[in-house]
């Protein structure tokens, strides 16, 4: 579903992503881990087409992002780390706006929006302006809008920040359910327990490079120690 070939992104003299090659299969839940400034968000934005690579290529669903960005983007939804929204729209209006923007079938997206508002316990707040929402409420609306178009790829940056435990559980279940039906999830997070719990594979980034790749068990085997992901992560990013 995602194929990155020697992907490099430089901001001036600073190399944020350094010759990154990676393949993520359809229906796979792939998590990118790494300390602050490792290049996780930049990688996600490159895959989403919100940044242009300095070198290398991004292909989504077999479509080259540089050549046909419109077609590639039509396959995906992106959930940013900071949920900037239209403050003067209500949550429900924002979901309808997204549905219209993607030209979704009206009866389907309206029913789906209600279902998501219900699931996230946002039905009563759906008609209030989003400027009055808490961070977590905004995040719920943003996640709902991403799920509305039934994308084949969900790119999600720090998904659980600000969410209450019930919503965290709900998001985890929704994402897992999606991957079972063939949707690919590319997630970046600092929450190692979350990554360990729901990912099929993990990639640890440090200073723009992918320094480890595989399932949690693979990483443990590679580390030849019976330690948790947190210890492996701290040791790898300290040694690298």
């Amino acid at each position: 579903m995602i194929e990155l070939q020697k992907l490099t992104k430089k901001f001036g003299n600073n190399t944020a992503v350094d010759s990154l090659s990676l393949t993520v299969e359809a229906g796979e839940f792939f998590t990118v881990l790494g300390p602050n400034g490792a290049g996780k968000t930049t990688t996600l934005k490159l895959v989403a087409g919100l940044l242009r690579p300095t070198a290398g290529s991004v292909s989504v669903g077999g479509i080259d992002m540089a050549e046909k960005p419109g077609r590639a983007k039509a396959l995906m939804s992106y959930i940013p780390d900071i949920p900037y929204v239209y403050e003067k729209l209500t949550g429900r209006e924002f979901l309808h706006f997204t549905g219209e923007l993607y030209r979704l079938d009206r009866s389907i997206y309206r029913a789906r929006a209600e279902e998501l508002l219900e699931q996230f316990l946002m039905r009563d707040d759906g008609d209030k302006l989003m400027e009055t929402y808490s961070h977590g409420m905004r995040q719920k609306i943003v996640i709902s809008s991403a799920l509305l178009s039934d994308p084949r790829l969900i790119i999600i940056d720090e998904p659980m920040v600000g969410l209450d435990p019930r919503s965290i559980r709900l998001v985890k279940d929704l994402l897992r359910e999606r991957t079972r039906s063939g949707t690919t999830v590319l997630m970046s997070t600092h929450t190692l327990a979350l990554a360990e719990e729901i990912s099929d594979r993990l990639g640890i980034m440090h200073r723009g490079k992918l320094i480890a790749l595989g399932g949690v068990d693979d990483l443990k085997r590679a580390a030849r120690r019976s330690e948790g992901l947190e210890d492996i992560f701290l040791r790898m990013t300290a040694e690298a």
């Binding site: 919100l50 929204v85 239209y86 003067k88 209500t90 219209e100 923007l101 302006l129």
Partner: protein, 561 residues
């Protein structure tokens, strides 16, 4: 006051870093902007100088008219600055995230207040600098003022802008503390309606009859200005500032200083009252502004507003969704629509004033002057409108670009959507205005058609310029439209819009004045000149309106978010 020094130095550091950023800009770009700014200043100066010279040359009343212009200038400016300061103060005191950060620090609330106060003064008065300096310099030359006059200009400017902001904040602070958002909004609308009615009553009962008294323009103007004596009321601050400048230009230094000190003392008093009020009300007002009503709105599809917006459903769905989103966001944003109301008020006052110009003036020179002045004034108001409301639109999408950047909507479609929907609105308003004013002025059919066609061109040109430059020079990090406009791109838009309007006026006024007024060209030459004017104005509109649009969306396509 604790923290004031730190805030001041932080602001200086930000300014220094911004200036360093300009140093990194390409030399060609910086030179281009410098030349453009200088052209604007000299162009404005030339126009003001010609206008004031014209008044000055009118026998008997000339010099008086020049001084009266100064009174009107400061009287109107004071009201405009006061109104814009009310809106700007409300936004900068209470609706900025930086305030939340500052109030979480161990700072005296009054320090935070005055820090924002200075910013409010700058935001609400930067345009005054652009127009005010060339006007006052032109006035000083005509009045043959001494060099001391020019040295004192910065002092007058700085002092003048503080009082409207101080008065506005004295109104905004208690309103934010004691009225909730909806009641404050109602109070604002109510006050605006009462003021509009009072102005209309004054016009109908005092000013309009004056128009009937004068048989020619000179007599009319004398009579008209007599009836505007309310603007010279000795208790009105605009009068003090105008008097100080007029007395200084006339070499009466003591009288000038007297008026200057009256204004300065009033400003000091207003600042002292602000100091007291801020200590008691600012923090509480800010807390009250957090308790915004979160009453549910009608769901999509329900309610009168949603039914009205359904007219856009004939358009492609993404376009209709973007338009609906823009309209709802605008209508729900107090700082946006209140400034929009101020623009409407300016247009209303303008039309009312135009109604008092005798339409039956036979002199073709006057007829032509009034017609072209009408077109220029309308276009200038529209230029200000497009800069203020259209330029920030692309920038305001910035933090939300993750939505549009991934949606199946291209940046070309986004820019064109902004251009067409705003263009249609601007075109309708400007044509309505031009038609109404032409009827009031009893313009000849030929000029009527030409002025309406010129208006259509400028509506397209100004809309394209504002939307295009907004895409070319976006500020994706800023969420306050007033601050977006006061940046580099907004200033460039303001200057190029004024130059564009001046070019259009010049292209058409030369053939019309040459043939109909001065009779220096034949009918054949007039037609050739007019054809050239049409060709030139079409080229100017393409350059001003279409080129920035194309460059703008190409820049967006290349941008990274």
């Amino acid at each position: 006051m604790t923290g004031a020094r730190s805030l001041f130095f932080a602001r200086i550091r930000i300014l220094k870093n911004s200036v360093s950023g300009i140093r990194n800009e390409p030399v060609l770009k910086t030179t281009f902007i410098a030349v453009l700014t200088a052209s604007f200043w000299f162009g404005s100066f030339f126009l003001f100088y010609r206008g004031l010279s014209f008044f000055n040359a009118i026998p008997a009343v000339g010099p008086v008219l020049v001084d009266e212009t100064m009174y009107i200038f400061f009287a109107v400016l004071f009201i405009m600055l006061l109104l814009s300061s009310i809106v700007v103060c409300h936004a900068t005191f209470f609706n900025v995230k930086e305030v939340e950060f500052l109030l979480s620090k161990p700072l005296d609330h009054r320090v935070v207040f005055f820090y924002r106060f200075v910013q409010s003064s700058i935001y609400s008065s930067w345009a005054f600098l652009f127009l005010g300096i060339p006007f006052l310099v032109a006035y000083a030359i005509i009045r043959d003022a001494s060099c001391c006059f020019y040295l004192a200009l910065p002092g007058w400017f700085i002092l003048f802008v503080i009082l409207p902001t101080a008065t506005a904040s004295l109104l905004v602070l208690p309103a934010a503390r004691f009225l909730d958002y909806r009641r404050a909004r109602r109070a604002f609308i109510g006050t605006a309606v009462v003021l509009a009615l009072a102005a209309f009553w004054y016009y109908k009962s005092v000013i309009a009859p004056a128009a009937q008294e004068g048989e020619d323009i000179a007599a009319f103007m004398e009579s008209f200005l007599y009836h505007l004596r309310i603007l010279k009321h000795p208790l009105y601050p605009g009068y003090w500032m105008a008097s100080s400048i007029i007395e200084a230009a006339g070499g009466r230094a003591l009288e000038s200083v007297r008026y200057f000190f009256v204004y300065a003392a009033t400003t000091a008093l207003a600042l002292q009252l602000n100091h007291i009020e801020a200590g008691r009300l600012y923090y509480r007002g800010w807390l009250a502004s957090r308790n915004r009503s979160n009453r549910p709105l009608p769901p999509p599809g329900a309610g009168a507003a949603n039914s009205l917006l359904s007219i856009f459903s004939v358009l492609p769905r993404p376009t209709a969704a973007l338009i609906t989103k823009d309209i709802k966001s605008f209508a729900r944003d107090f700082s946006q629509w209140s400034q929009f109301l101020i623009y409407l008020a300016i247009l209303g006052v303008y039309i009312l004033n135009l109604g008092s110009v005798p339409g039956s003036v036979d002199n073709p020179y006057w007829k032509m002057i009034v017609t072209f002045l009408n077109f220029s004034a309308t276009s200038l108001v529209l230029a200000g409108f497009t800069v203020r409301f259209l330029f920030p639109q692309i920038s305001l999408e910035g933090t939300k670009i993750w939505i549009l950047g991934l949606a199946p909507v291209t940046f070309k479609e986004l820019v064109l959507q902004k251009f067409f929907i705003n263009g249609v609105m601007i075109l309708l308003v400007s044509e309505l205005l031009m038609t109404a004013t032409n009827i009031m002025l009893e313009t000849s059919p030929g000029l009527f058609f030409v002025s309406c066609a010129m208006t259509a061109l400028t509506a397209v040109g100004l809309t394209g310029l504002a939307v295009g430059l907004g895409a070319l020079y976006p500020d994706f990090r800023e969420e306050n439209p007033s601050r977006i406009v006061s940046g580099f791109g907004g200033t460039l838009n303001f200057i190029t819009a004024l130059i564009y309007v001046a070019v259009i006026v010049l292209l058409f006024s030369v053939p019309y004045f040459s043939y109909h007024v001065h009779h220096t060209v034949t009918a054949g030459t007039f037609r050739t000149m007019l054809s050239a004017a049409w060709t030139g104005s079409l080229a100017a509109t393409a350059a001003a309106g279409i080129l920035p649009l194309v460059l703008g969306y190409r820049k967006l396509q290349r941008s990274e978010f």
